[in-house]
């Protein structure tokens, strides 16, 4: 019984790095992680939308998570990855992140909620903060990231 409860209360997250911070994306939304590839620019769209890419024959829009969070654009490196997530409203969307580090399991109880009246705008994209082996992992609010 106890064990079941524990499993139900734990979630797996893909840990990504954006700038100096670590963010966790709930693994159930993640479809695929790919290397940086050539992106076709789409005119007349929001700045953070970098364009569209071809993933296994499907055309998927990609956005730069840095631009969306209001950070400076960074050059793409060999660590840069595109995390393909699937949301119910938007379908598949690719997120350009600085690096993908690992998969961690966090206890839901151990994730602390973040208050929203923080003056820094970027916390808006975070639902809570969890701890893993001494480092902090902010849990990304995908719906917030994906709304325009």
């Amino acid at each position: 019984m106890e064990e079941l409860k524990n499993n139900g209360g734990a979630k797996q997250f893909i840990v990504i790095r954006v700038g100096e911070e670590q963010y966790g994306i709930d693994i159930k939304y993640v479809d695929n992680i790919i290397h940086m590839c050539s992106i076709t620019r789409v005119p007349k769209v929001a700045l953070y939308v970098k364009g569209v890419i071809n993933v296994r024959g499907e055309v998927i829009p990609v956005m730069d998570i840095r631009t969306k969070m209001g950070l400076m654009e960074a050059e793409y490196t060999k660590n840069t990855r595109i995390v393909i997530v699937k949301s119910e409203q938007q379908g598949f969307v690719g997120l350009i992140v600085d690096a993908v580090k690992e998969v961690v399991t966090l206890e839901v109880d151990g994730i602390e909620k973040v208050s929203y009246d923080n003056k820094s705008g970027k916390t808006m994209f975070v639902t809570g903060v969890g701890k893993h082996q001494g480092s902090l992992i902010s849990v990304l609010d995908l719906n917030e990231i994906l709304t325009e």
Partner: protein, 695 residues
């Protein structure tokens, strides 16, 4: 019995029968004496009854049963069709439609017994006045066996000259000819299947010359409990009958030997071999006169019965399965494109003729495959437009205007998904024509137009498009009226209105919530409409425009693409990026010197063969630096939308290519100039420019 697995088929077929009934009853209204129509209605009602009964929908069964009763009487000539009966029948169809909708939504027919309707139907059955005549349609003159049937139905099978000849020939060859009537059990559900088994059993022994009802009707279950056949065989009658009876759910099979001339007489002295030569003599004699004609007739008959057996082999396929197939074909075309680009981009490569020819072959195959799949998905628009005559009839009564709907090109085919969606917009335009378009009888008389207003729907294929025109000979659109309304509503300012062309003003009609109807009626005029029509057609990749002449009528022209998923495109480069433009909209490609560009109202235009064409610099539209140098000649693709032309300035032409349209996804769907994306041979994504939006 669990019938839920048949529900979908039941719904499909019910719809078909209802549509059929609607059409035929409309015909009947025009031509109440037409026997074929009455028969067709009777059959459809009968099949409906049977299907509803099998599925356990009792109310539906009762209603159709009573309808069938009425038609059975009409068929027998005891009652005559009156206009109030037509109304009642239409109400019945509506009630049946309601049952069907209920069944589709919650697998239950609902609780409406429609007793009033049934009573009305039964009232129709009461004979009015003396019967003038009692025609018996079954016993037409010229049937050899009519008089002497003596209870056996097979003996009333009509035989034409050719069949008689075949019969005669058979007897001459020493074969036996039997007439057999087979009765299936009342509880039998799959009558057609049983009949088929009977046919098969008989065909193993001999040849079926003719059957009543026809093989096709039997296959469609258009018969009551029995059917009759005439068989040519070497086997004895007992053997044939025994084989028939061995098919399960067959209640009875009776028969006798016959010849072509007089089955009844033959019956009396049946199995007397002696009589055979004499009979054949007569057959030969009678056949000799028109031998050549009869022979070709016989050949034809044989051919006909052959094609009948294979002619109607169809499969009902879930549209989703076809979608999957279509997607796979798309993948294949992308893969083919990659192969083509892989073999052509290798630098310094020695050309390999074998590879090239195989790729060419592959291209042929994929193109044919694509075409076939597209064809499979095509259905005639008939299924949609067939309901319109009935709608116009009802509107005519409701609005108290006389009108007539003329349709052409119902057989024009479109992709199934388009056909499913096009019904509502068309219905809307027709309603508009009936309500706003056609004038009242007085105004029409004043203008010297015929009393009956005419509404038309024409469909035809034009290149890679299908055009559907909907229009009327009514009032047309009053441009001044629209203009005033627009100013009144603040859609445009009076100054703006002054500078607008008539066409621009008419286009205002397509804006949301813009209805010019002076009064709101039940039929139209609520302001939801033309904008919905337009957006619906645009989501289907089509466009709509209107031509109108005040006092003479208006025509709405809908242009739809034949295919949705795969198109021929012109590939171009702008600022180093690749774009596709549908080849449909491109008319010509021009090389224009920069000095030829003129300014009209501070817009760039070019003169081309007598017409002034506005220039659109794609790099500006797409926010990108052009790679072309200032003084270089410009490459201009002239694109067309309806009557309008525009020149798109591109940097480079890459050629023509078959492309698969992919959706951009909701996330970047906001740009209307980009209608989609496609994957190129090298795996890169290229955007598709919608020239219609640019113009």
């Amino acid at each position: 019995m669990d019938v839920s697995q048949y529900l979908e088929i039941f719904l499909d077929e019910t719809r078909e029968h209802l549509q059929n009934l609607n059409t035929e009853i409309l015909n009947l209204e025009q031509d109440p004496e037409n026997e074929d129509t009455v028969n067709e209605i009777f059959r459809a009602a009968h099949s409906l009854k049977g299907m509803a009964g099998t599925m356990g929908y009792k109310r539906m069964q009762t209603l159709t049963h009573d309808m069938e009763n009425v038609f059975s009487e009409v068929r027998n000539g005891t009652i005559k069709i009156k206009s109030h009966m037509i109304d009642i029948l239409f109400q019945c169809l509506d009630a049946l439609e309601e049952y069907t909708t209920n069944i589709q939504e919650n697998s239950d027919e609902g609780t409406n017994d429609n007793e009033a309707l049934i009573k009305l139907l039964n009232d129709c059955l009461k004979p009015d006045g003396a019967q003038e005549e009692t025609p018996a349609p079954e016993s037409t003159a010229g049937k050899p066996a009519a008089a002497a049937s003596g209870g056996s139905k097979w003996s009333s099978i009509p035989l034409d000259e050719a069949q008689k000849l075949v019969l005669g020939e058979a007897v001459k060859q020493g074969k036996k000819v039997y007439g057999i009537t087979v009765k299936v059990q009342e509880s039998c559900i799959l009558k057609a299947a049983r009949a088929f088994l009977v046919f098969k059993a008989v065909e193993e022994l001999g040849e079926i010359l003719v059957s009543a009802p026809s093989a096709q009707d039997i296959e469609d279950e258009k018969f009551e409990l029995d059917f009759s056949i005439i068989v040519i065989t070497d086997s004895p009658l007992d053997r044939v009958l025994a084989d028939i009876k061995s098919v399960s759910e067959i209640e009875e099979a009776e028969g006798a030997e016959m010849t072509e001339s007089s089955p009844a007489a033959e019956k009396a002295e049946k199995s007397k071999e002696k009589s055979v030569p004499a009979k054949t003599e007569t057959a030969k004699a009678s056949g000799a006169e028109n031998a050549p004609a009869a022979k070709t007739g016989a050949a034809k008959q044989e051919k006909k019965s052959n094609t009948k057996a294979v002619g109607n082999r169809t499969v009902r396929v879930d549209i989703e399965k076809l979608d999957v197939l279509m997607n796979l074909v798309s993948e294949l075309i992308i893969a083919k494109n990659s192969l083509v680009s892989a073999t052509t981009t290798q630098e310094g490569r020695e050309s390999n003729a074998a590879v090239d020819s195989q790729i060419e072959y592959l291209e042929n195959v994929t193109t044919s495959l694509h075409e076939s799949v597209m064809k499979v998905r095509m259905v005639p628009i008939e299924s949609v437009v067939n309901k319109f005559p009935r709608m116009i009839r009802d509107l005519s009564k409701k609005l108290d205007k006389k009108m007539d709907l003329q349709m052409t090109g119902e057989e024009t085919e479109l992709d199934r998904t388009v056909v499913d969606e096009i019904g509502d917009p068309l219905m809307h335009l027709l309603r508009n024509s009936a309500d706003h378009g056609l004038e009242s009888a007085e105004v029409r008389a004043e203008r010297g137009k015929p009393e009956v207003g005419s509404i038309f729907l024409n469909a035809y294929q034009d290149g890679n498009n299908v055009i559907i025109e909907v229009g009327d000979d009514g009032n047309g659109i009053d441009v001044e009226n629209v203009k005033n309304k627009a100013i009144e509503r603040g859609t445009v300012t009076p100054e703006q209105a002054l500078n607008m062309t008539d066409k621009e003003i008419i286009d205002l009609l397509f804006l949301p919530s813009f209805s010019t109807a002076k009064e709101v009626t039940d039929v139209s005029g609520r302001g939801v409409g033309l904008d919905v029509v337009k957006s619906k057609i645009e989501t289907l990749g089509g466009e709509v425009e209107v031509k109108t002449q005040l006092g003479e009528g208006s025509t709405w022209i809908i242009r739809l693409p034949l295919t949705l998923a795969i198109i021929q495109a012109l590939m171009v480069e702008v600022g180093g990026e690749k774009y596709a433009i549908s080849l449909n909209s491109v008319t010509t490609l021009e090389n224009i010197a920069p000095s030829d560009v003129k300014l009209v109202q501070s817009e760039e235009v070019i003169h081309l063969r007598g017409s002034v064409i506005p220039l659109i610099r794609l790099n500006e539209v797409l926010d990108i630096e052009s790679t072309r140098k200032e003084n270089e000649n410009m490459i201009v693709a002239i694109v067309k939308k309806g009557d309008k032309l525009a020149g798109l300035v591109v940097d480079k032409l890459m050629g023509q290519q078959e492309i698969v349209i992919k959706s951009l996804g909701k996330f970047v769907d906001k740009t209307r100039i980009i209608s989609g994306a496609t994957i190129l041979g090298d795996g890169e994504v290229a955007l598709i420019l919608d020239a219609n939006v640019l113009i």
